[in-house]
């Protein structure tokens, strides 16, 4: 089974206080810690486990500027033998459909039985996998939390409301968006990263991909972010202040009063 996994480099929202830059055109990018999108690590791990069981290959692809190399190498260090970078100024400002259009070209440059994405990334849109499948005319399943190969098709589980699991059979080639918790992504140490440091990673631009530069990027985007803002706070929480001792004492009083200490 030859598998392509699409990964995104994102500001790590668990590690950063995200704030809006002056004017709202962007978030403040100074001092941001970047990481591979949480969901994508599960997708790469799942691809590696499938190939360990069934044979085949794992290729990791990312789209962005030259900074994505760090992300691609990190994921390769998990055990993906090939990487691919899609870099072109013309890609900047693409909406979800633009990104899916570029990825479609990358899928068609190769020959894959299975394409994986994370279920969602930093913008919470959860859209690229589904759009990519539609553009490729492949079947699709989102929020996948189990994959078993069964001949030419896969038996998959989708996570639905309340944490129940919807079992499906899906034909290959297909696109799956992977949900967290499907596996335990392996740890990547410095040694692993060093091992793949010299592996050559092809970089493809719009021309190499055969993507019409006018069909992607800011100008072609039907969906555009006008600005970022912080909503006018509602009542919000009453914030307790003071030393650790003082705050704890206030909390004890509050919890007692509300019946929280039994």
């Amino acid at each position: 089974m030859d598998i392509l996994v699409c990964v995104k480099r994102v500001p790590d929202s668990a590690e950063n206080e995200i704030s809006v830059a002056a004017g709202g055109a962007d978030i403040s990018r100074e001092d941001l810690v970047y990481a591979v999108n949480e969901w994508d690590n599960y997708a790469v791990e799942e691809a590696i486990q499938i190939v360990e069981r069934e044979g085949g290959s794992v290729t990791v692809v990312a789209l962005g500027d030259s900074e994505i190399e760090e992300s691609v190498r990190r994921e390769m260090a998990m055990g993906a033998e090939q990487g691919l970078m899609l870099v072109d100024g013309a890609f900047t400002g693409s909406d979800g459909l633009g990104v899916a259009t570029i990825l479609k070209a990358a899928v068609q440059k190769g020959s894959y039985d299975l394409v994986l994405t994370g279920a969602q990334a930093d913008d919470g849109a959860a859209q690229v996998g589904g759009m990519l499948a539609a553009l490729l005319d492949y079947p699709y399943a989102s929020l996948v939390n189990r994959v078993e190969v069964a001949g030419k098709s896969l038996r998959i589980g989708r996570e639905i409301e309340g944490g129940s699991q919807e079992l499906n059979e899906i034909d290959t080639p297909c696109v799956l968006s992977i949900q967290t918790g499907i596996n335990e992504p392996r740890y990547v140490g410095l040694r692993g990263i060093r091992k793949v440091a010299s592996v050559e990673i092809p970089v493809l631009d719009a021309a190499a991909l055969g993507v019409d530069a006018a069909a992607v990027g800011q100008a072609a985007a039907k969906v555009r972010r006008v600005d970022y803002f912080v909503p006018v706070a509602g009542a919000g929480a009453e914030m307790l202040t003071g030393s650790t001792k003082e705050v704890a004492a206030q909390l004890v009083e509050l919890l007692k009063a509300k019946g929280g200490i039994n």
Binding site: P11, S13, A14, N16, E17, I18, G96, L97, A100, D122, D123, G124, A125, A126, Q127, G129, G130, M131, A134, Y140, A141, S142, L143, R158, E161, G162, G163, S164, E166, L167, N168, E169, I170, D171, C174, T180, G181, K222, V223, V226, D227, Y228, F229, V230, P231, A233, G236, A237, E238, M239, L240, T244, V247, A248, L251, L255, G259, G260, I261, N262
Partner: protein, 323 residues
């Protein structure tokens, strides 16, 4: 803009989901005066009950009654909607696990723009539809606009619009024949219900909930000690279950348990909507987080900006003394 607005109605057990009336409100807010059409898909006699219920709110209901639609498989619904919807339609979905499955590909197949997980609307200007979304796990919001001249698929976050009042005497149009002979390359097999956990957190009045901010599995003992001192039960956010530190039955949220405690202590939890979606009954929420901008402080009644490693031992000690 003369827009035809459609809303896909989620339903189960012969009853429309709360999202039906929320979608109606969203439609009326975004396109004042529009006459939205409800799309009701399913199988068997119970579908008739849903269609009748929905016709009390929407002026028109298109009903698709087919064996193949007994379970909502997005891979069947997408080609059906692509076939029956008029060019330029606005399709409204709930940003549920079905909406996530269906929406992105539907927008591609319809040639329409896609606006997912919308939490508010700003209005329509010509063919531009302006909405509010959240990014970075709810830490910042964004104004987003879509060119809907070729149609629009838009999904709304559950609960972000109040339900509209149902006051229509709508007609139900039977479109079942249009859904004949649907096939897909993804076949639904069955639903496996989530396993019950080691404790039933849905019955607890006082919950101490721990999130990724706890850092390491070993630190969970600080949370256990606090909960024990309080006589409370420990629950958690999703990353704690993903890491297999706690049982799935202890996860609060849309893909976990729905809890109705009186008091909820959120420790190192950022406050993602999927987490808060599992908190019902307006509990008294106390949030502890090192990030003063964490969205949880918008949901909480009382907040503390602190490092859990410092606050938890002190709090536990004071509670033990106070008892």
């Amino acid at each position: 803009m003369a827009t035809q607005v459609f809303a896909l109605i989620p339903h189960a057990g012969g009853k429309a989901d709360d999202a039906a009336l929320e979608l109606l409100n969203a439609a009326q807010t975004l396109f004042p005066g529009c006459a939205p059409t409800a799309l009701v898909l399913g199988s068997g006699p119970s579908l008739g009950a849903v269609a009748t219920e929905v016709a009390a709110a929407f002026p028109e209901v298109w009903s698709f009654n087919q064996e193949s639609l007994a379970y909502p498989n997005a891979e069947l619904i997408r080609p059906l909607l692509t076939k029956v919807l008029p060019a330029g339609a606005v399709v409204m979905l709930s940003h549920s696990t079905l909406g996530i499955d269906l929406g992105p590909g539907l927008s591609v197949k319809l040639g329409a723009a896609y606006l997912p997980d919308v939490v508010g609307v700003d209005g329509v200007e010509g063919s531009l539809v302006k909405v509010v979304r959240q990014e970075f796990a709810g830490q910042v919001s964004a104004h987003v606009q879509a060119d809907a001249s070729k149609g629009l698929v838009i999904s709304f976050r559950p609960g972000s619009f109040a339900p509209a009042t149902a006051s229509a005497a709508g007609t139900v149009v039977d479109k079942s024949a249009e859904a004949a002979g649907l096939t897909a390359r993804r076949r639904f097999l069955e639903v496996v219900q989530a396993e019950a956990g080691d404790v039933d957190i849905t019955r607890e009045d006082v919950l101490v909930s721990v999130g990724r901010g706890i850092g390491e599995q070993d630190n969970l003992s600080l949370v256990d000690e606090l909960a024990e001192a309080m006589g409370a039960t420990v629950c958690c956010s999703r990353p704690i279950v993903d890491a297999k530190w706690l049982d799935k039955g202890r996860q609060v949220g849309t893909s976990g348990q729905t809890v109705k405690p009186k008091i909820y202590l959120a420790l190192g939890i950022s406050g993602a909507f999927q987490h808060l979606g599992g908190l019902k009954g307006s509990p008294f929420i106390v949030a502890v987080n090192k990030n003063p901008k964490a969205p949880i402080f918008q949901a909480a009644q009382v907040g503390v900006v602190a490092d859990l490693m410092e606050l938890l031992p002190e709090l536990t000690e004071q509670i033990q003394k106070a008892k």
